[in-house]
Amino acid sequence: MNDMKPIKPDFKIVGTRPVRPDGVDKVTGKAAYAADMAMPGMLHGRIKRSPHAHARIVSIDTRKALALKGVKAVITAEDFPELDPSIVAAGGEAHHNMANYSANCMARGKALYEGHAVAAVAATSPSIARQALELIEVVYEPMPHVTDLLEAMKPDAPLLHDNMFTQGLPETPTKASNIAKFFKQERGNLEEGFASADLVFEQRYTTQPVHQGYIEPHACVASVSADGQAMVWCSSQGQFMVRDFSAKIVGMNQADLRVVPAEIGGGFGGKTVVYLEPLAIVLSRKAGRPVKIVMSRDEVFRATGPTSASVMDVKIGVMKDGRIVAGDVDCKFQAGGFTGSPVMAATMTALASYDVPHCRVTGWDIVTNTPKVAAYRAPAAPNAAFAVESALDEIARELGMDPMTLREINAVRNGMTAIYGAPLQHIGLVETLDAIKQHPHYEAPLGPNQGRGLAVGFWFNGGGESSVTVSINPDGTVSVATGTPDIGGSRASSAMMVAEALGVPYEKVRPIVADTASVGFNEITGGSRVTFSNGLALVRASEQLVDEIRLRAGLIWDVPADQVAYADGIATCLAPDRAETPLLLGEIADKAAHFGGPLSKEVALNADGVAPCFGVHLCDVEVDPDTGNVTVLRYTAAQDVGRAIHPSYVEGQIQGGAAQGIGWALNEEYVFNAKGQMENSGFLDYRMPIASDLPMIDTIMVEVPNPVHPYGVKGVGEVPIVPPLAAVANAVRDAIGKRICDLPLSPTRIHAAMTAG
């Protein structure tokens, strides 16, 4: 990938702020999301869910439901093939055990959390479907449950899977447990490191499960024909992921399943897996009619992935001058009903922002009777950063050092090796720290009961497989097909990069997100990979087109391609003895048929060479000394963004991530009752930030480009959620003079801390 052209110093379109191509439909209500879809003869699907957190399913009697007029199909786990655990989904970023995903979509033998699907119906109306659910008779044998991750680790804890033996230890245990996996990152000599330290700080930090909180509930429509071919329209972060996961779970060929991406109403990682689509496909196959399933908000909370609760034990050794010499971090992460917490990423990111010569980070993946966790924006990194950045704040206090200075001393720099082993290149942490330091916020005075918190965050960013098609139409306009759902404005950035590379106006480039039969394979929209990976493919396709345009113009003029210059949509003949009128792109395209056929390039590639990015956030809060209420007064977020293709949408990512992180820090959490049932499964009591909870969020885009990408792109979407948890916690500490190590920092918890001795 290093053969890409160097970064262009001056851009015409990259870095400008045009209106997004899908914008008008979104402000007029025309944009079609999955739940907006309707088809002739369509049935309405609904899902019956376990009221128990842990129960053996003794029997399911569907006869009465099937007998209800208007009910066209009822399904249970019996209707799905039993999958071998070795079956994994192709092309995904992480390793997905399809047997677990199948059992998560529809409980097999046991319900592992409250809300776990046990049966589904399709009926001619939503209300008949609802009635039918009541008629499905499920006999459960409730079992002891465990929702707390530390409780789940105990040797006598209720066991979710009797065949789970901790993986990743030097010796695999012979006794089953809820500890699915162990991970470790290590370098140097930890004992030596701590022995040499002037100060050793130790503390435990905890976080609760939080939900991605996208406003659009999961929804899909599936239509299966009698010959087995099927179409699915759905809201997801990856139409190819939906195709491949669903095909494996229901047992069909990938080519027989065409998945059309609807507009997606937010994902943040939560729509990187399937819940509804396999059920809708099987219901449609049984009923012979299209089936639509739309989750309620309650179902979204109870049955789709939150992120992990976590317990992190941090031990850091520093010298008096602030140098960190040793770090030992242990991370325990809740996976929910099936293995698969992002704890490995916690072990890789926890100390990734700092140069720590002697360190060890360990991680434990723990199953509990709670919904299977799903990715949430920079999975695991916010939890780990909350622990480490809170600890560093305390260490700075103990050393009498400015928290910024402590970070400057230890910040990773180009050429250093990250804890996970990779040498760091093209990174901009020092520049980002400096950007915050230079901002007026950094020195602004604080009033009584106010405090300021600083925190740093790291994320890898992502590359991976992307396929795109760029076609020049006969009139010189450009059609672009990508295969990754547009959540945060990727159609705009795609069109901008193509316009830049082809030298045509932005308005002449029209991008779409194509279905799985209309463009080559693409990985999901996730991991902050789309602008980087698709961008590489789009620019490469555009460059191939430019070569082709020069060739075609040369053919028109009867000169070789190297005698043709092309810029800004105009081909100019360079042959010294010729006085040809320059040709407009449209004129060349109009003659394409006569000189070799359509001007269209598909580029499918595997994007490597991704560069990580860092965020540095500064937060001011005021704490009501009588009630413990926190007001976020001011928030400034600086981030190394590589290069911002569309700065407004980069700012939007930073602001949105910061807001989510603030919610995580202050109020969001899953509350389970003694029966293991979620008590706050609605937006009223889940308490995400509302407009009046937040100040303006000031953003500083620091551009340290990644030279691997022709425009310097790194990826920006994930890192903004990493620093806020600690930035807020450190600000609250500064305001009240006491450290709270457990999230969320609810008024009740802060009040208790303030009134305690």
Binding site: M1, N2, V88, G92, E93, A94, H95, Q167, G168, L169, P170, T172, F182, F183, K184, Q185, E186, R187, Q212, F268, G269, G270, T272, P342, M344, A345, T347, M348, A375, Y376, R377, A378, P379, I419, Y420, G421, A422, P423, L424, Q425, W459, F460, G462, G463, G464, E465, G526, G527, S528, R529, N606, D608, G609, V610, V708, E718
Partner: protein, 82 residues
């Protein structure tokens, strides 16, 4: 000969905790085959779970990527995003 390092425990169960290996391979795939020959099952595991950093650039699926005699090679667990 290029040296392959791993700072994570993610393939410990195959390597018995060893963290540095000399290989003679000239491509990522060759390296995986060689490691697989030494540690049964490791090649398949790495194919599914590992990314490889070669002289600072991270490759995830690029089995054909060349590696030179002085290359710095690190095996990294693959990470998904949100």
């Amino acid at each position: 000969m290029p040296v392959v390092r791993v700072t994570s425990s993610f393939c410990d169960s195959f390597t018995g905790g060893l963290t540095e290996f000399e290989v003679a391979a000239t491509t990522v795939r060759g390296m995986m085959r060689e490691l697989g020959a030494r540690f049964p099952g490791l090649a398949e595991f790495l194919e599914a779970r590992a990314a490889v950093a070669i002289d600072g650039t991270i490759y995830r699926n690029a089995w054909l990527q060349p590696i030179g005699p002085d290359s710095d090679i690190v095996l990294i667990p693959r990470v998904g995003g949100g």
